[in-house]
């Protein structure tokens, strides 16, 4: 396949595979904790981080990571202030992110570079961003595996988990940091506006056919890999935005699975 002859495409595929490993893995916990919209809010904040990085000449992936980590803990604090309307905190953070991104994007030197973060791009990923994404992905996936069982407990029932000795506060803090890292890392290849879809659609697809929690994790990652790699290849051959191709593949696969397994009920 001649797409492997291009260095930028090889890099895009490596990054795509890493993103497809970490985003659905984190997405499974987000879906089960009923926090799917958090990834959406963070993706908007990551855009603000990217714009800030481009304005001040900082590595945009690094600035996106820092912005998302700040946002994720701000979100936690805001939820404590609004305990009865916790989900509105997500809307506030999302609004802050998109508002800052819109204003800061006017000051970026290169509009094209900023746009690459909106819907993803397979154009050359600079060395520093590439290394940061590689390192970040390995850290996220390793920590996810270490906390795998604790994340199961906290997703199922925080009260039971706390009483049975799980350090719920630590697990939640680690998880929110992993979410922030994953969203920021995925923004470049998949596109910030599409990260939340990659966090949710593979998980929903995996849940349609899995027979256990472990299988759900494995299938979610496999679906994520299928959507991302196929989306990147389609992007290369047809000149379309990778984010769009990845998300549409995800949506149609999920709808197809619903049709095939409709006897099992929509929410399963």
């Amino acid at each position: 396949m001649d797409l492997f002859n291009y260095e930028f495409m090889r890099r895009a595929l490596i990054v795509g595979v890493l993103v497809a490993l970490i985003v659905p893995a984190i997405g499974q916990v987000l879906v089960l904790k009923r926090m799917s919209m958090v990834s959406d809010a963070l993706s908007h904040v990551s855009l603000a981080g990217v714009a800030f990085g481009l304005v001040v000449g900082m590595n945009p992936v690094l600035s996106a990571i820092l912005a998302c980590i700040l946002a994720v803990f701000g979100l936690d604090e805001l939820r404590k202030v609004l305990p009865e309307y916790g989900e509105t905190a997500i809307a506030v953070v999302l609004s802050l992110g998109i508002g800052l991104a819109a204003i800061l994007s006017d000051f970026t030197k290169s509009g094209t570079n900023f746009n690459a973060f909106l819907f993803g791009s397979i154009v050359a990923i600079p060395d520093d961003e590439y290394l940061l994404i590689l390192l970040g992905s390995i850290v996220v996936f390793t920590v996810f595996l270490i906390f795998y069982r604790s994340l199961f407990s906290v997703s199922l029932d925080e009260t039971f988990a706390r009483l049975s000795g799980v350090n719920v506060r630590l697990v939640n803090m680690v998880f929110m940091t992993l979410t922030a890292l994953s969203v920021s890392i995925a923004a470049k290849t998949v596109g910030a506006l599409i990260v939340s879809s990659l966090a949710i659609l593979p998980v929903l697809s995996g849940m349609r056919i899995a027979k256990s929690y472990r299988q759900t994790t494995v299938y979610s990652i496999l679906f994520g890999l299928f959507f991302t790699v196929t989306g990147l290849i389609l992007s290369f051959y047809f000149g379309i935005k990778p984010g769009g191709a990845i998300v549409l593949l995800g949506v149609f696969t999920y709808l197809g699975l619903i049709a095939l397994t409709s006897g099992k009920g929509l929410a399963k």
């Binding site: 199922l156 039971f160 706390r162 009483l163 049975s164 899995a210």
Partner: protein, 249 residues
């Protein structure tokens, strides 16, 4: 170890309403205690206080052993939440995965479940009377079966006390009786303290050693005669949801 709990001078208020004010109560180690009360009387708030999810604004809740020594409830107390079937029916896990997860707080980060752990999980599922395979997904089980899975999860911790928040509220009455009989068996055979919230005064009368009623910001212990009076009132007014004692039957 036998575990009891004592609440002293408790006060817990939300922004506009006090649920509990200047209230004491205690459950002795090994007791089967039932808490009743009308909708909105604060039963679940009391459960949150017992679990440590909420902290009383005044007073304190102390878990104690037989020698009246203070005990950290973590690792000693298990909890079965309200409406487990509705809350977790779609959770993509098998019965065995849910039961095994009770050990997650004790396992080191990369420890695997041992063969003994898996055998213990299957034994816990057998004890609660789940005939299905341990590898059955929660979504393939009925509401009553899911409730049994979560009781098996609680038993997996070898708890000294089990807290249950309306465990049979959405299930049929015959299952409620079976479930309470199972709790009584656990209470006697394992010497585990049971604290359970229910609306069913009949079950409270049949199984409980102590019945507390939440009414007007107080926790009042009901005498046997009061329980019988409540039951008589229910039978003479079967369609009335609340009796004069504000206890919903």
């Amino acid at each position: 170890m036998n575990l009891g709990v004592r609440g002293e001078h408790l006060r817990f208020c939300y922004q506009n309403r006090c649920i509990i004010e200047e209230t004491d109560f205690s459950v002795k180690p090994g007791e089967f205690c039932v808490i009743v009360g009308a909708n909105g009387s604060g039963k679940s708030t009391l459960m949150n206080l017992l679990c440590g999810v909420s902290i009383p604004q005044e007073g304190e809740i102390r878990w104690i052993d037989e020698k009246d020594q203070r005990i950290d409830p973590k690792g000693h107390v298990a909890y079965v939440r309200q409406n487990a079937a509705a809350q977790h029916g779609g959770f993509p896990a098998t019965a065995q995965e849910v039961v095994l997860s009770a050990l997650n707080g004790r396992k080191k980060w990369l420890d695997r479940y041992t063969i003994e752990d898996r055998k213990k999980a299957v034994d816990a599922l057998n004890l609660v009377g789940l005939p299905e395979s341990p590898d059955t997904l929660l979504s393939d089980l009925s509401g009553g079966q899911i409730q049994r899975v979560f009781l098996a999860q609680a038993l997996m911790c070898d708890p000294d006390a089990i807290l249950l928040d309306e465990p049979t509220s959405s299930l049929d009455p015959s299952f409620s009786h079976t479930f309470f009989a199972l709790l009584k068996k656990i209470n006697i055979e394992r010497n585990a303290t049971i604290i359970v919230i229910t609306h069913d005064m009949g079950l409270a009368k049949e199984f409980a050693d102590t019945v507390y009623c939440l009414e007007e910001t107080s926790i009042v212990e009901l005498e046997k005669s009061q329980i019988e009076e409540e039951l008589r009132h229910k039978h003479s007014h079967p369609h009335k949801e609340e009796s004069h004692g504000s206890v919903q039957l």
